[in-house]
Amino acid sequence: MASLSRETLLNIFLTIGMLALPFVATAIDEPFYITLATRVAILGLAGVGLNLALGTGGLVSFGHAAFFGLGGYAAGILASHALNYTPIMESPFLIEGTNQMLIIWLVAIIVSGIGAYLIGLLSLRTSGVYFIMITLAFAQMIYYFAISWPAYGGEDGLSIYVRNAFPGVNTLDPQGFYFICFALLMAGIWLSATLKNSRFGAALQSARQNEERLSAVGVKPFNIKLTAFVISGMMTGLAGALFADLNRFVSPSMLSWHMSGEIMILVILGGVGRLYGPLAGAIIYIIFEFIFGGMTEHWQFFLGLVLLGVVLFARGGVIGLIAGRARHD
């Protein structure tokens, strides 16, 4: 215990568990578990994105579905054009669809990053409840836009008939796709840990705790927060692209406030600001959905009870409950 904290041990345990899960699922002949684990990885990544803004930066965004959905639509639109052999646009220059995940991810990251930049630019002037409301409002705006835009399915959404391709991996094989998602989740966690420990991370944590001090030493809190918000939106947008590929379907529901709430709930469940909080939260979320979702359609009621318990009695979420309070230095 001298060198590894309890939280680190827990993180290692979660990582190994996630790595082993598809093999166990195959061994006990429950391939559906792999799909569940893939959902965990994707929602976890979306949560890792939100956690950078929410946990490290103190930005309570209730509009991260916007980025999740933008990433999802980027994937859906590119894939549908590739499938129909129709270009997305011909003038002023030709843009064609693609079924290559690497390109799709890049586009999803750029599109959600631009979305986060614009929304952040307009909403980061506010704070507290106003910030929550304005991020919610922007996400809902995009949601209604998606519903009323017939070119890409409107309300009905958009199907991706064949899962997009990744060099060297059979993405149609659930295990193959799972490991892609898991790898990106790990990359996201690594990135958020790296950012938090960097000079930028120091400034971001200061922006959360004491903007007056941060500006007094000569750093503009707004710019720091906007940068974090964009990176956060990009990570959640990438998760959205994966989610589209998992379901082979994109619909406006990815953009709705329910989705924002879902991402936020799993971050809170797992532990706001904790490195593995979003993953732990996603595991709990999916287990709840799987177990209680089969018994009652009101399963979210029980999840709500757990959430209430966490908010009231375990501020550090599940990670905090098991590993103790976060260490600061």
Binding site: R199, R213, A216, V219
Partner: protein, 249 residues
């Protein structure tokens, strides 16, 4: 006379009917400590906020190194070299003393947009911050979180944060408040030497400190400068004795 480093010209600020800053003009010259004294509520902290950009002024101007600071925000003014401390300590509570100073060092270097290198193993950053902590005699408490520092230690940390900015002028808002006699004495001798690095606009209630340190004193009452001069001139000014020193003596 040389040009002042900091020149405040006809500054005004009202909060509703209350005139917190009333046509204030003062200067800060190289190498000096200019003390600003006055009873509670006189508008001293308000004036510091106006200089630093935290509060907008109704009229008047702040000239710093020949540059009018109008339109610049707090961070931009800090980058230009205004190093202030707060009357009520304002630090990053979850950070250790060391990491607080590291933040100021990185800010001063303009390197807050570095995303990958771990600050804990960033030897240059750590060493520089440690050296500054040593200057305020806080190196022994480097790894203690700011929340756990004593009140007096947090006052020292405030000074360290200003030092880390290598400012061209210090604006210190009651740095000795609540420091205890021993701490105050050490801070007095420290500030005495500091004026050689950059001039200090010093707000202070501790009259021993003011009289032993100040090259010049200005007295603020109800937002107005009622007297300005050398230590002796202020000591013997009947209006000042009545308005201010008389009350507190």
């Amino acid at each position: 006379m040389t040009n002042p480093i900091l020149e405040i010209k006809n500054l005004n600020k009202s909060f509703g009917a209350l005139k917190a800053t009333d046509d204030v003009s003062i200067t800060l010259n190289a190498g000096e400590i200019h003390a600003l004294i006055g009873p509670n509520g006189a508008g001293k902290s308000t004036l510091i906020k106006q200089i630093c950009g935290g509060l907008s002024s109704d009229s008047g101007s702040v000239i710093f190194n020949g540059q009018d600071l109008a339109g610049l925000d707090v961070a931009e003014r800090a980058q230009l070299g205004l190093g202030r401390t707060f009357q009520i300590s304002s630090v990053i509570m979850e950070f250790s003393a060391l990491r607080n100073v590291m933040l100021a060092v990185q800010a001063n270097a303009g390197t807050s947009y570095r995303f990958f290198k771990n600050v804990r193993t960033d030897k240059k950053l750590v060493d520089r911050a440690m050296a500054i902590l040593a200057r305020v005699e806080l190196e022994g408490r480097a790894d203690v979180s700011a929340a756990e520092l004593s009140h007096g230690e947090r006052r020292q940390l405030e000074i360290a944060l200003a030092l880390a900015l290598e400012p061209k002028a210090f604006l210190l808002d009651e740095p000795m408040a609540g420091m205890g006699p021993e701490g105050s004495k050490r801070l007095i001798s420290f500030l005495d030497g500091l004026r050689k690095e950059a001039p200090i606009l010093l707000i202070e209630h501790d009259m021993d400190a003011v009289f032993s340190l100040a090259d010049r004193i200005s007295v603020l009452v109800y937002g107005r400068v009622v007297a300005s001069g050398t230590v002796d001139e202020i000591r013997n000014n009947p209006a000042v004795r009545e308005a201010y020193l008389g009350e507190t003596a």
